[in-house]
């Protein structure tokens, strides 16, 4: 066991953790944040994508002990004050969700893209969600939702529907 201090969704924690536990299981089992999902557990599917020091990573391939001193944002940290983010609202509006299992990882990857690049081209979006597998809706609605969110987040009030 190791003692680690870290921040998740803005809240600071100090916890004891088994050294071989992945960040994914630690978030779900020890911090009770079950929004982050386990799909393949091998870095293929992206269902476990979280932000580690602002960058998307696969939580299934990170050891919990590695986040000592670092900052993690999970899907639970994207909505603010109980209000969905414009990106989350766009996913709803475009029916970019069916079973919902890929959605947390998808949102994290898209959220990170919009932070790096507020005006993504379609290819940029495709590349950003390359590591996130969706097995039900297909990707079109997801891509359209991200395009819409990018439009909503632009400073000018040019709303495209």
């Amino acid at each position: 066991m190791k003692t680690i201090t870290f921040t998740v969704n803005g809240q600071k924690y100090t916890r004891e953790v088994e050294e071989h536990k992945t960040l994914l299981r630690f978030l779900r089992e020890d911090i009770s944040l079950t929004g982050t999902k386990e799909g393949c557990g091998a870095g293929e599917c992206g269902a476990c994508t979280v932000l580690l020091n602002s960058k998307p990573v696969n939580a299934c391939l990170v050891l919990a002990v590695e986040i000592d001193g670092k900052e993690v944002i999970t899907i639970e940290g994207i909505a603010q004050d109980g209000k969905l983010s414009p990106l989350q609202e766009a996913f709803e509006r475009h029916h970019a969700i069916q079973c919902g299992f890929c959605t947390p990882g998808m949102i994290i990857s898209a959220h990170s893209l919009l932070q790096r690049n507020p005006n993504p081209k379609r290819e940029d979006i495709q590349e950003a969600i390359e590591g996130n597998f969706c097995r039900c809706t297909g990707y079109l609605q997801i891509i359209e939702a991200i395009e819409d969110a990018a439009e909503q987040l632009k400073p000018k009030k040019s709303k495209k529907r």
Binding site: K2, E18, E19, H20, K21, T22, G41, A42, G43, G46, T49, L52, K55, P56, V57, N58, C60, L61, V62, L63, V65, E66, D68, S109, S112, E127, A128, E130, G131, N132
Partner: protein, 273 residues
């Protein structure tokens, strides 16, 4: 996780060397973990000690100088390299290779040195690094040595590295800076995938053609240097005699051989003609 282990996070190379001397083959270095954690989880590998090197400042260094070339520390991630404007400008071929690795979240963790030390036959940075004549700096408590990357690979997932040694950095020499080059990778899907076969070609000092190929032999391979006047058919002939591809779940041997010819022809058209 299939097996438990003790986690160490040394803060210096000296501490790292002490751990390697103490634990030898019972320990494994962790950098990005994108191969290691998968293997441990699947029960394919078992180690008593995991040594995380990301907290060692000198292993996080990515730097360029006209005298020494590009130096890529063992903890430098693929994303760090790709986002470095000097690396992009001076060693574009290498960055192009790194951009094809997996997906963005994986590139944020996976390291360039890890891609080499893992020694997969399909390592994407290997063809680029081989074309650019990369050198591997190996350290241990008894000193350091530099060997050419082409001599570092021994076989599938095997490299010349003793249990008390570690790769401190990869050095891409100044002679390869600003080499014109390109990388072509065959995948089953447009999204992230391992290569079925891949080819890198570079023109060094405007008169040497170098070609390296991955996923076509137990290790990534580099062909002997060609002069600028070499005909493309001759390069393809040498390539097909050098590689030893296999039939496997991702591709047949014949398809691999065919695509090596296709890619060499395309790269030649793009870079030389």
């Amino acid at each position: 996780m299939q097996f438990g282990f003790t986690y160490h996070r040394p803060a210096s190379v000296i501490e790292l060397c002490e751990l390697l001397n103490r634990y030898g083959a019972k320990c494994k270095i962790l950098a990005g973990g994108t191969d290691l954690i998968v293997d441990i989880r699947a029960g394919l590998k078992k180690y008593d000690y995991i040594v995380d090197i990301k907290n060692i400042p000198e292993l996080n260094e990515l730097s360029f100088s006209k005298q020494k070339g590009l130096s890529i520390g063992a903890a430098v991630t693929c994303s760090q390299l790709i986002e470095d404007s000097t690396a992009q400008k001076k060693y574009h071929l290498l960055c192009e290779c790194a951009e094809t690795i997996a997906s963005y979240p994986l590139r944020n963790r996976a390291t360039i040195v890890g891609n080499i030390v893992n020694a997969s036959p399909c390592a994407d940075t290997a063809p680029g690094l081989l074309c650019l004549d990369a050198q591997v700096l190996i350290k241990s408590s008894s000193g350091e040595k530099t060997i050419a990357l082409k001599d570092f690979f021994e076989g599938v997932k095997k490299v010349k590295l003793a249990p008390n040694e570690f790769v401190s950095k990869i050095i891409v020499p100044p002679a390869s800076a600003e080499a014109k080059g390109a990388y072509m990778k065959l995948k089953r899907i447009k999204g992230h995938d391992l290569s079925l076969v891949s080819v890198a070609m570079a023109v060094i000092k405007k008169n040497i053609i170098r070609v390296a190929i991955a996923s076509a032999a137990p290790t990534p391979v580099i062909l002997p240097d060609f002069s600028k006047n070499t005909k493309v058919d001759e390069i393809i002939n040498v390539a097909l005699k050098t590689v030893k591809p296999i039939d496997d779940i991702r591709s047949s041997k014949d398809y691999r051989l065919h695509m090596i010819g296709v890619y060499i022809k395309r790269l030649y058209e793009q870079l030389i003609k």
